[in-house]
C-alpha cells in the first residue's frame, strides 16, 4: 500500500510487524461481531468508520454491531457457551461479576492489548482484569433534577431525604435491572440499609429506563431522580432541557463496561484490533463525545468534563467485583425488594 494506515504509521519495530500480520488476518476473517449494551447505533457507526480507517480495512470488512439489554445479552452468551456455538467476538457489558465469572470459566480469551498500558489504574482499582478485560467506558447513577423547576442545593445523598413530596421522586428499579442493583450494593456499603429505608418512605416510583427517568423530570411528573444518568442529562440538555445532577460527597458507584473477546470467537484477529481501537485515545474520544461515558484511560482529557468528568475526579466507592457472586446479587435483590416493594 502506498499510503500506510494511521495505526501502522504510528507503530514501529517488531510491534509494527505483528500489527501488520494481525491486520492481514483480520482482513481474511472479513468481519467482526460486536455486542454492547450502551452504544447507540449512531455512535457505533462513527466508531466503526473510524476503526476501518485506522487500520486501513477494506470497505467489504463488516463490523456487525448489536445493542442488547444486559440480561438478554447474558442469556445469549451463556446459551452460546453452553451449546459450544459461539457467534460473538467482542462483548461489552456493564456486569463485572459476570465478566469475572467467565474468566474463571475459561471462556474469555487472554489478550494483552498494547492499550492496557494506559489502563493500569483501572486494573488496580479492580475495575478490570489485566490480560482479559478493561472497560471502554463507565457510567453512573446520581441524583438529578430539572433546574428550571427545582432549586436544589444539596451535596450529599442524605440531602435527598425530604427534598420533594412523597411520590415525586423516581428511582432505578433494582428488581428489574442489574445496574441499579449494583449501584444499590455499592451505596449500601457507605450509606447503610437504614438510609434506603428512609428513601423508601418517600414513596419513589420505580423505573428501568434512564431515558424515562430523565423524561419524567422534564415533564414535571417527578421532581427528582434518585438514579439519574449524566449521559441523559447531556443528551437532554443538548435538546434544550435544563437537567442538573450532583456527584454526592459520599461517593458514587462506577459501572464500567467490561469489554472482552470470547475464547472461541470466530474472528479473533479482528476482535483484537477492535479492542485495541476502542481503548485507544481516538476510540475513547468517540465514545465520550457521543455517549458521555467516563473513560478509564490514563491521561485522557474529557471533551465534556461537566457530564463525563475525568475518572480521577470521582469519589468511586470501592467494590470488589471479583468476589461478588450471583448469589450475593440475588440476596441484595431480595433485600432491595423487601425494602422498596414489600
Amino acid at each position: 500500500a502506498a499510503e500506510e494506515p494511521p495505526a501502522l504509521k504510528a507503530a514501529a519495530g517488531p510491534q509494527k510487524e505483528q500489527l501488520r500480520k494481525l491486520v492481514a488476518a483480520a482482513v481474511k476473517e472479513g468481519e467482526l461481531s460486536y455486542w454492547d449494551v450502551v452504544l447507540q447505533p449512531k455512535t457505533a457507526s462513527i466508531a466503526i468508520e473510524a476503526f476501518r480507517k485506522h487500520y486501513g480495512l477494506p470497505a467489504s470488512f463488516k463490523v456487525n454491531y448489536s445493542l442488547a439489554r444486559s440480561a438478554d445479552l447474558v442469556t445469549r452468551v451463556n446459551q452460546e457457551l453452553q451449546a459450544d456455538r459461539v457467534t460473538m467476538d467482542v462483548v461489552a457489558i456493564a456486569l463485572l461479576p459476570f465478566a469475572h465469572e467467565k474468566v474463571k470459566g475459561g471462556h474469555i480469551m487472554r489478550y494483552d492489548s498494547p492499550q492496557y498500558a494506559a489502563y493500569r489504574g483501572v486494573f488496580e482499582k479492580g475495575l478490570g482484569k489485566e490480560g482479559y478485560f478493561a472497560f471502554n467506558g463507565a457510567y453512573l447513577f446520581v441524583p438529578m433534577w430539572d433546574s428550571s423547576k427545582l432549586k436544589f442545593k444539596g451535596t450529599s445523598w442524605k440531602d435527598l431525604i425530604g427534598a420533594v413530596p412523597e411520590g415525586r421522586m423516581s428511582m432505578g428499579d433494582a428488581g428489574n435491572s442489574v445496574t441499579y442493583l449494583a449501584t444499590y450494593m455499592g451505596l449500601k456499603t457507605v450509606l447503610g440499609v437504614d438510609y434506603f429505608k428512609k428513601v423508601a418512605t418517600m414513596k419513589p416510583t420505580f423505573l428501568v429506563r434512564s431515558e424515562q427517568i430523565a423524561n419524567q423530570i422534564v415533564t414535571g411528573q417527578d421532581q427528582f431522580a434518585f438514579s439519574g444518568m449524566p449521559t441523559r442529562a447531556y443528551q437532554f440538555n443538548q435538546r434544550g432541557a435544563k437537567l442538573q445532577f450532583l456527584l454526592p460527597k459520599e461517593g458514587v458507584v462506577l459501572l464500567p463496561q467490561a469489554i472482552f473477546i470470547l475464547a472461541k470467537a470466530p474472528h479473533p484477529s479482528a476482535a483484537k484490533l477492535w479492542i485495541d481501537f476502542i481503548l485507544s485515545e481516538a476510540g475513547q474520544k468517540i465514545l465520550v463525545e457521543n455517549e458521555a461515558l467516563i473513560s478509564g484511560r490514563a491521561g485522557f482529557v474529557s471533551p465534556i468534563p461537566d457530564y463525563a468528568p475525568p475518572i480521577e475526579k470521582l469519589n468511586v466507592i470501592k467494590i470488589d467485583w471479583e468476589k461478588i457472586t450471583a448469589d450475593d446479587q440475588n440476596k441484595a435483590k431480595a433485600e432491595w425488594l423487601s425494602i422498596f416493594k414489600p
Binding site: S45, S66, T75, G175, F206, E211, G220, A326, Q329
Partner: protein, 582 residues
Amino acid sequence: MKAGRGSGSLSGALAPAPTSGLGAKPWARNLLAPQILIPGIAVLVGVALVASPFLATVVRSALAGAEGALAPSLRNFTTLFQDERFYSALGITAVTGLAATLLSCFFGLTLAWIVARTDTPGRSWFDTLNLVPFFLSPFVGAVSWTYLAAPHAGLLNNAISRYLAGPGDLLNIFSIGGVIWVLALFYTPYVYLFVIGPMRRMDPALEDAARVHGAGFLLTVRHVTAPLMLPALFSGALVVFVTSAGLFDVPLALASPRAIPTIPTTVYSLVQYPSDYGRAATIGVLVMAITVFFALAQRAYLSRRSYATVTGKGYRPRTVQLGRWRYATLALELFYVLSGVVLPMIALIFVSLSSLWTGWPAFAYMTLGNFDQVLFHHDLARRALVNSLIVAVLGATIGVLLGTLQSYYLQRGRSRLRTIMDSVLSLPLGIPGIILGLGFLILLIRTPLYATLWIILIAYIARFLPLATRGISAMLLAIGGDLEESARANGASWAQTVRVIVLPLIKPALVAAWLMLFVIFIRELGATILLYGQGTETISVAMVILGEQNFGQVAALAVVQTLMLVAAFMLFRLTRSSILES
C-alpha cells in the same frame, strides 16, 4: 318385520361382485387419503411446535441450581409456593386479568352489537375504527396513555389543571386501574373480532321474542343477546385473559413504577440478570396449566348447551331501530374510539413531533427530526422494518396455511384425538413469550437456524398459531359440511373441493386470521428478544433499542408502524369479498 324380509325380491339373489379394491388394508389406505394425511401433518407440525417449548419449559421448571450445575428438583415449585410476593402478584394479576377481560368483553360485545345490529350512525366507519387499537398494540397504548394520564404530567391531567383548575393528578395511569384500563382498551378488538361474526349471523327473532314478551331493551341484552354470544365471547375472553396475563410490558410500564407486583413482571424480573430461569419456567408451567384449565372449562361449559343460532328459514338479518338511543350508542362508540385511538394517537404524534417532551406541546420543541432519523438515517430501524415485514408476511402466510389445515382436522376430522388436540394446540397461548423464546433458543441454538430470521419465524408461528386456528375453526364450524360433501358427490376430489369450495367460503376468516397474525408478528417482542441476531432485528427490537435513548423516535416509529398496519388493513377491507357478510 326384520331387515331380512325388507330386502325384498329385487336383491334376493346375490352374485359375487367383481372386486375392484386396491388390496391394501383399509386403515392404511384411510391414513394415506389426502384429506387425512395433509391436515394430519399440519397437526403433527403444530404438536411439534407446541411440544418443544412446552417440554423446554416443563423440563426447565424441574431443574434447579446454579447455571451450568442444574439438577432435577422440585425446588422451584416449593420455593415459589412459599413466596408471599408470588401470591400477591398472583392475586393482582387475577384481578387485573379478570377485570380487563370483563371490561373488554363488555366493550367488544357492545361495540360488535352496535356495529352489526343497530342503526347507529356511522357504524361502517366504526367497524374499522374499533379495530385500530389492535394495531396500536397494548404496549404502545400503555406508553401513549402515560403521556395522557401520568399524574402532574399527562396531557389530560395538564388540561384539567390548566383549563378546569382541577388537581394535576386527577388521573393516575400508574395504578391497577390504569393497567386494567389500558389492557381493556387494547384487548377489546380481540373480543370484537371473535364476536362480530356470530353477532351478524344471529337470528334477530330471538331478541324480538324477548321484547314482545315483556323484556325491555336492557333485559333483552342481559337475558338473550349476551348469553347467546357466550361461545364466541368465551373464546375471546380466554384469549384476552391468557394473553393479557402473560403480557409483561403493560404492567411493567404502569404497575411496576408503583411497586405493584404482577405475574408477568415477576417473570420479567426473573429473567433479568441475575436470572432465575427455573422459577420463571415454573410460573410458565402454572400459567399453561391455567390455560388448559380454562380451555377445558370453556369446552365443558359450552358442551352442555347448544348455541346454534342460525336458523335457515325465515331468517333475515335485521337492524334494531334504536330511536333516540342511537345517540347513546354513538356516544359509547365515540368514547371508545377516542380512548383507544384518537387520544393515544394524538399523544404519540405530539411526542413524535417533539425534540423534547415536556408534558405539553411546545412550539419551541417541534421537529420532524424523529421521523427523519427513523425513516432515513437509522440503519437499524430500516433494517427492522424490512425484517418485520418479511417475518410477518411469511409467518402469517404459513400460519394461516397450518391454521386452516388444523382447523380442518379439528372440525371435519373423525379422529377421537380431536378434543385433546384442540386443548394441546392452544397450549402456547399460555406460555410467556420470553419463556417460549428461551425454549426455542435452547432447542435450536445448535442448528443452522440460530441467529436467522427462521428461528424468529418458527417461534412466532408456534406462539400464535392457536389464534389463527381458533378463528378459522369458528368459521369452518359455521359452514355446513354438506357444501363440501355435495362437491365430493358431484365428482370433485378432496383437493379440488378444498380449493374450489372450502377456501373461497372461509376466505373472510382466512383474511382475518392472516391480518391478526401479520399485526401480531409486526409488533411481537417477548419471543424475539432472545432470538434476534445481528441483522435480524425486528421493529419491536428496534423500539426497545431506541427506547433506551430517545422516546421521540420510538413514538415516531410507533406512528409509522401504526400507519403501515392500518393501511394494510384498509387494503384488505377494500379487496375483501363481501359474499358471506350479506
